[in-house]
């Protein structure tokens, strides 16, 4: 039987259809299907430490509505969340809490650093005794968003970027398991 790749399923579902008499057979890789499923139901943790959180709430509400992309179920517990959006300034006192929340999240977990504060300390980069200069000093970050605060469109763009990142391959943990000697 001829195997052709002509009947590709349009994006975003990964895989190809093999025509057989009486219907097609879908061929795909398990990893790809899992990543596809994961990327389309990312549950964010309710976590906002300052002004960027207002913008995040706006993204969640009706006008921008991130549930169109699979983020609607914001969870108030890290055990049920897949992605933590660091929306706001992280101060030294908050840092251990953020680390604990991240540790409590189940694998695979993703981190979005929203805004200048979470990326680098932002407006508080100079002359501060209390602000962590970038959340990546505490937990690994997958996607950074520029802005102070970033507009909701920018947050949605970052979340779609995160989806693409998930669809495109392995998680950081999977990479570690395959090549433990390398650091990511």
């Amino acid at each position: 039987m001829d195997v052709t790749n002509e009947n590709k399923i349009p994006d975003p579902f990964p895989g190809t259809i093999h025509q057989t008499p009486g219907g097609g057979i879908l061929v795909s890789k398990m990893d790809q299907v899992i990543n596809w499923a994961r990327s389309n139901s990312l549950w964010p943790l309710v976590f906002g430490t300052s002004c960027c959180a207002i913008e995040m709430m706006s993204t969640a509400s009706a006008k921008y509505d991130w549930s169109r992309f699979g983020f609607e179920v914001a969870r108030a517990t890290p055990r049920q969340a897949d992605v933590i959006i660091i929306a706001g300034t992280i101060v030294n006192k908050m840092a251990p809490v953020l680390k604990r929340l991240y540790d409590q999240m189940a694998e695979p977990k993703y981190v979005v650093a929203m805004g200048a504060c979470a990326t680098s300390g932002g407006p508080f980069f100079y002359n501060t005794y209390s602000v962590v200069k970038g959340a990546d000093h505490i937990i690994p970050v997958d996607v950074y968003i520029a802005g102070c605060p970033p507009r909701p469109e920018a947050l949605i763009h970052a979340l779609i970027t995160l989806q693409e990142k998930i669809k495109s391959g392995m998680t950081r943990e999977q990479m570690k398991m395959e090549k433990p000697e390398q650091s990511f």
Binding site: N92, K93, Y126, N127, T128, Y129, S130
Partner: protein
């Protein structure tokens, strides 16, 4: 609602606490009375208990630091009387270091966290406070960050040079 005049309060305080009213001012039309350091609690208690005043609400209290003034440290209290809808500001200066004030937690429960904040940022001590420890900063922070002499960061940093920003 009974109305209250600034002058009534000033006269009453001067009569009750002769010599303890250091200064009276009306910045932005807000009655501000400076009290001698030692009598601040007696004055607050009097304003709280006196039926015609009834300043039963402590809006805020905070510390201040004037490094160049003759009296370096001050506590500022904002009181509110609901029955007369009148607001008043009290100040008390001291030069001690660390500055020591009597706690107001036995008059206003809400003073607890505000006094902890003054301790946290300025190192003020409050005698009789039930739980005087840092509230907003990490416990491991050393020094009092809102004092003017507190070094905000490493003075040897090089990446702040204007040359880096083309200035």
């Amino acid at each position: 609602m009974a109305t209250l005049e600034s002058q009534t309060i000033i006269d009453a305080l001067e009569q009750q606490f002769p010599g303890k009213v250091v200064a009276v001012d009306h910045p932005y039309d807000f009655l501000t009375i400076t009290i001698a350091h030692g009598s601040i609690k007696d004055v607050v208690r009097y304003l709280y208990n006196e039926p015609s005043f009834s300043f039963r609400f402590l809006t805020s209290c905070c510390g201040m630091h004037y490094p160049d003034a003759p009296q370096k440290f001050a506590m500022v209290y904002h009181l509110h009387s609901f029955t007369t809808n009148f607001r008043i500001r009290l100040k008390a200066f001291t030069n001690e270091d660390p500055p020591v004030f009597p706690t107001l937690t036995d008059i206003y429960k809400g003073a607890n966290w505000m006094e902890r904040e003054a301790y946290d940022f300025f190192g003020f001590r409050f005698t009789g406070h039930p739980d005087l420890r840092r509230i907003l900063n990490m416990d491991s922070l050393e020094g009092w960050p809102l004092r003017k002499e507190f070094p905000l960061e490493d003075p040897f940093r090089k990446d702040k040079d204007d040359a880096m920003f083309g200035r």
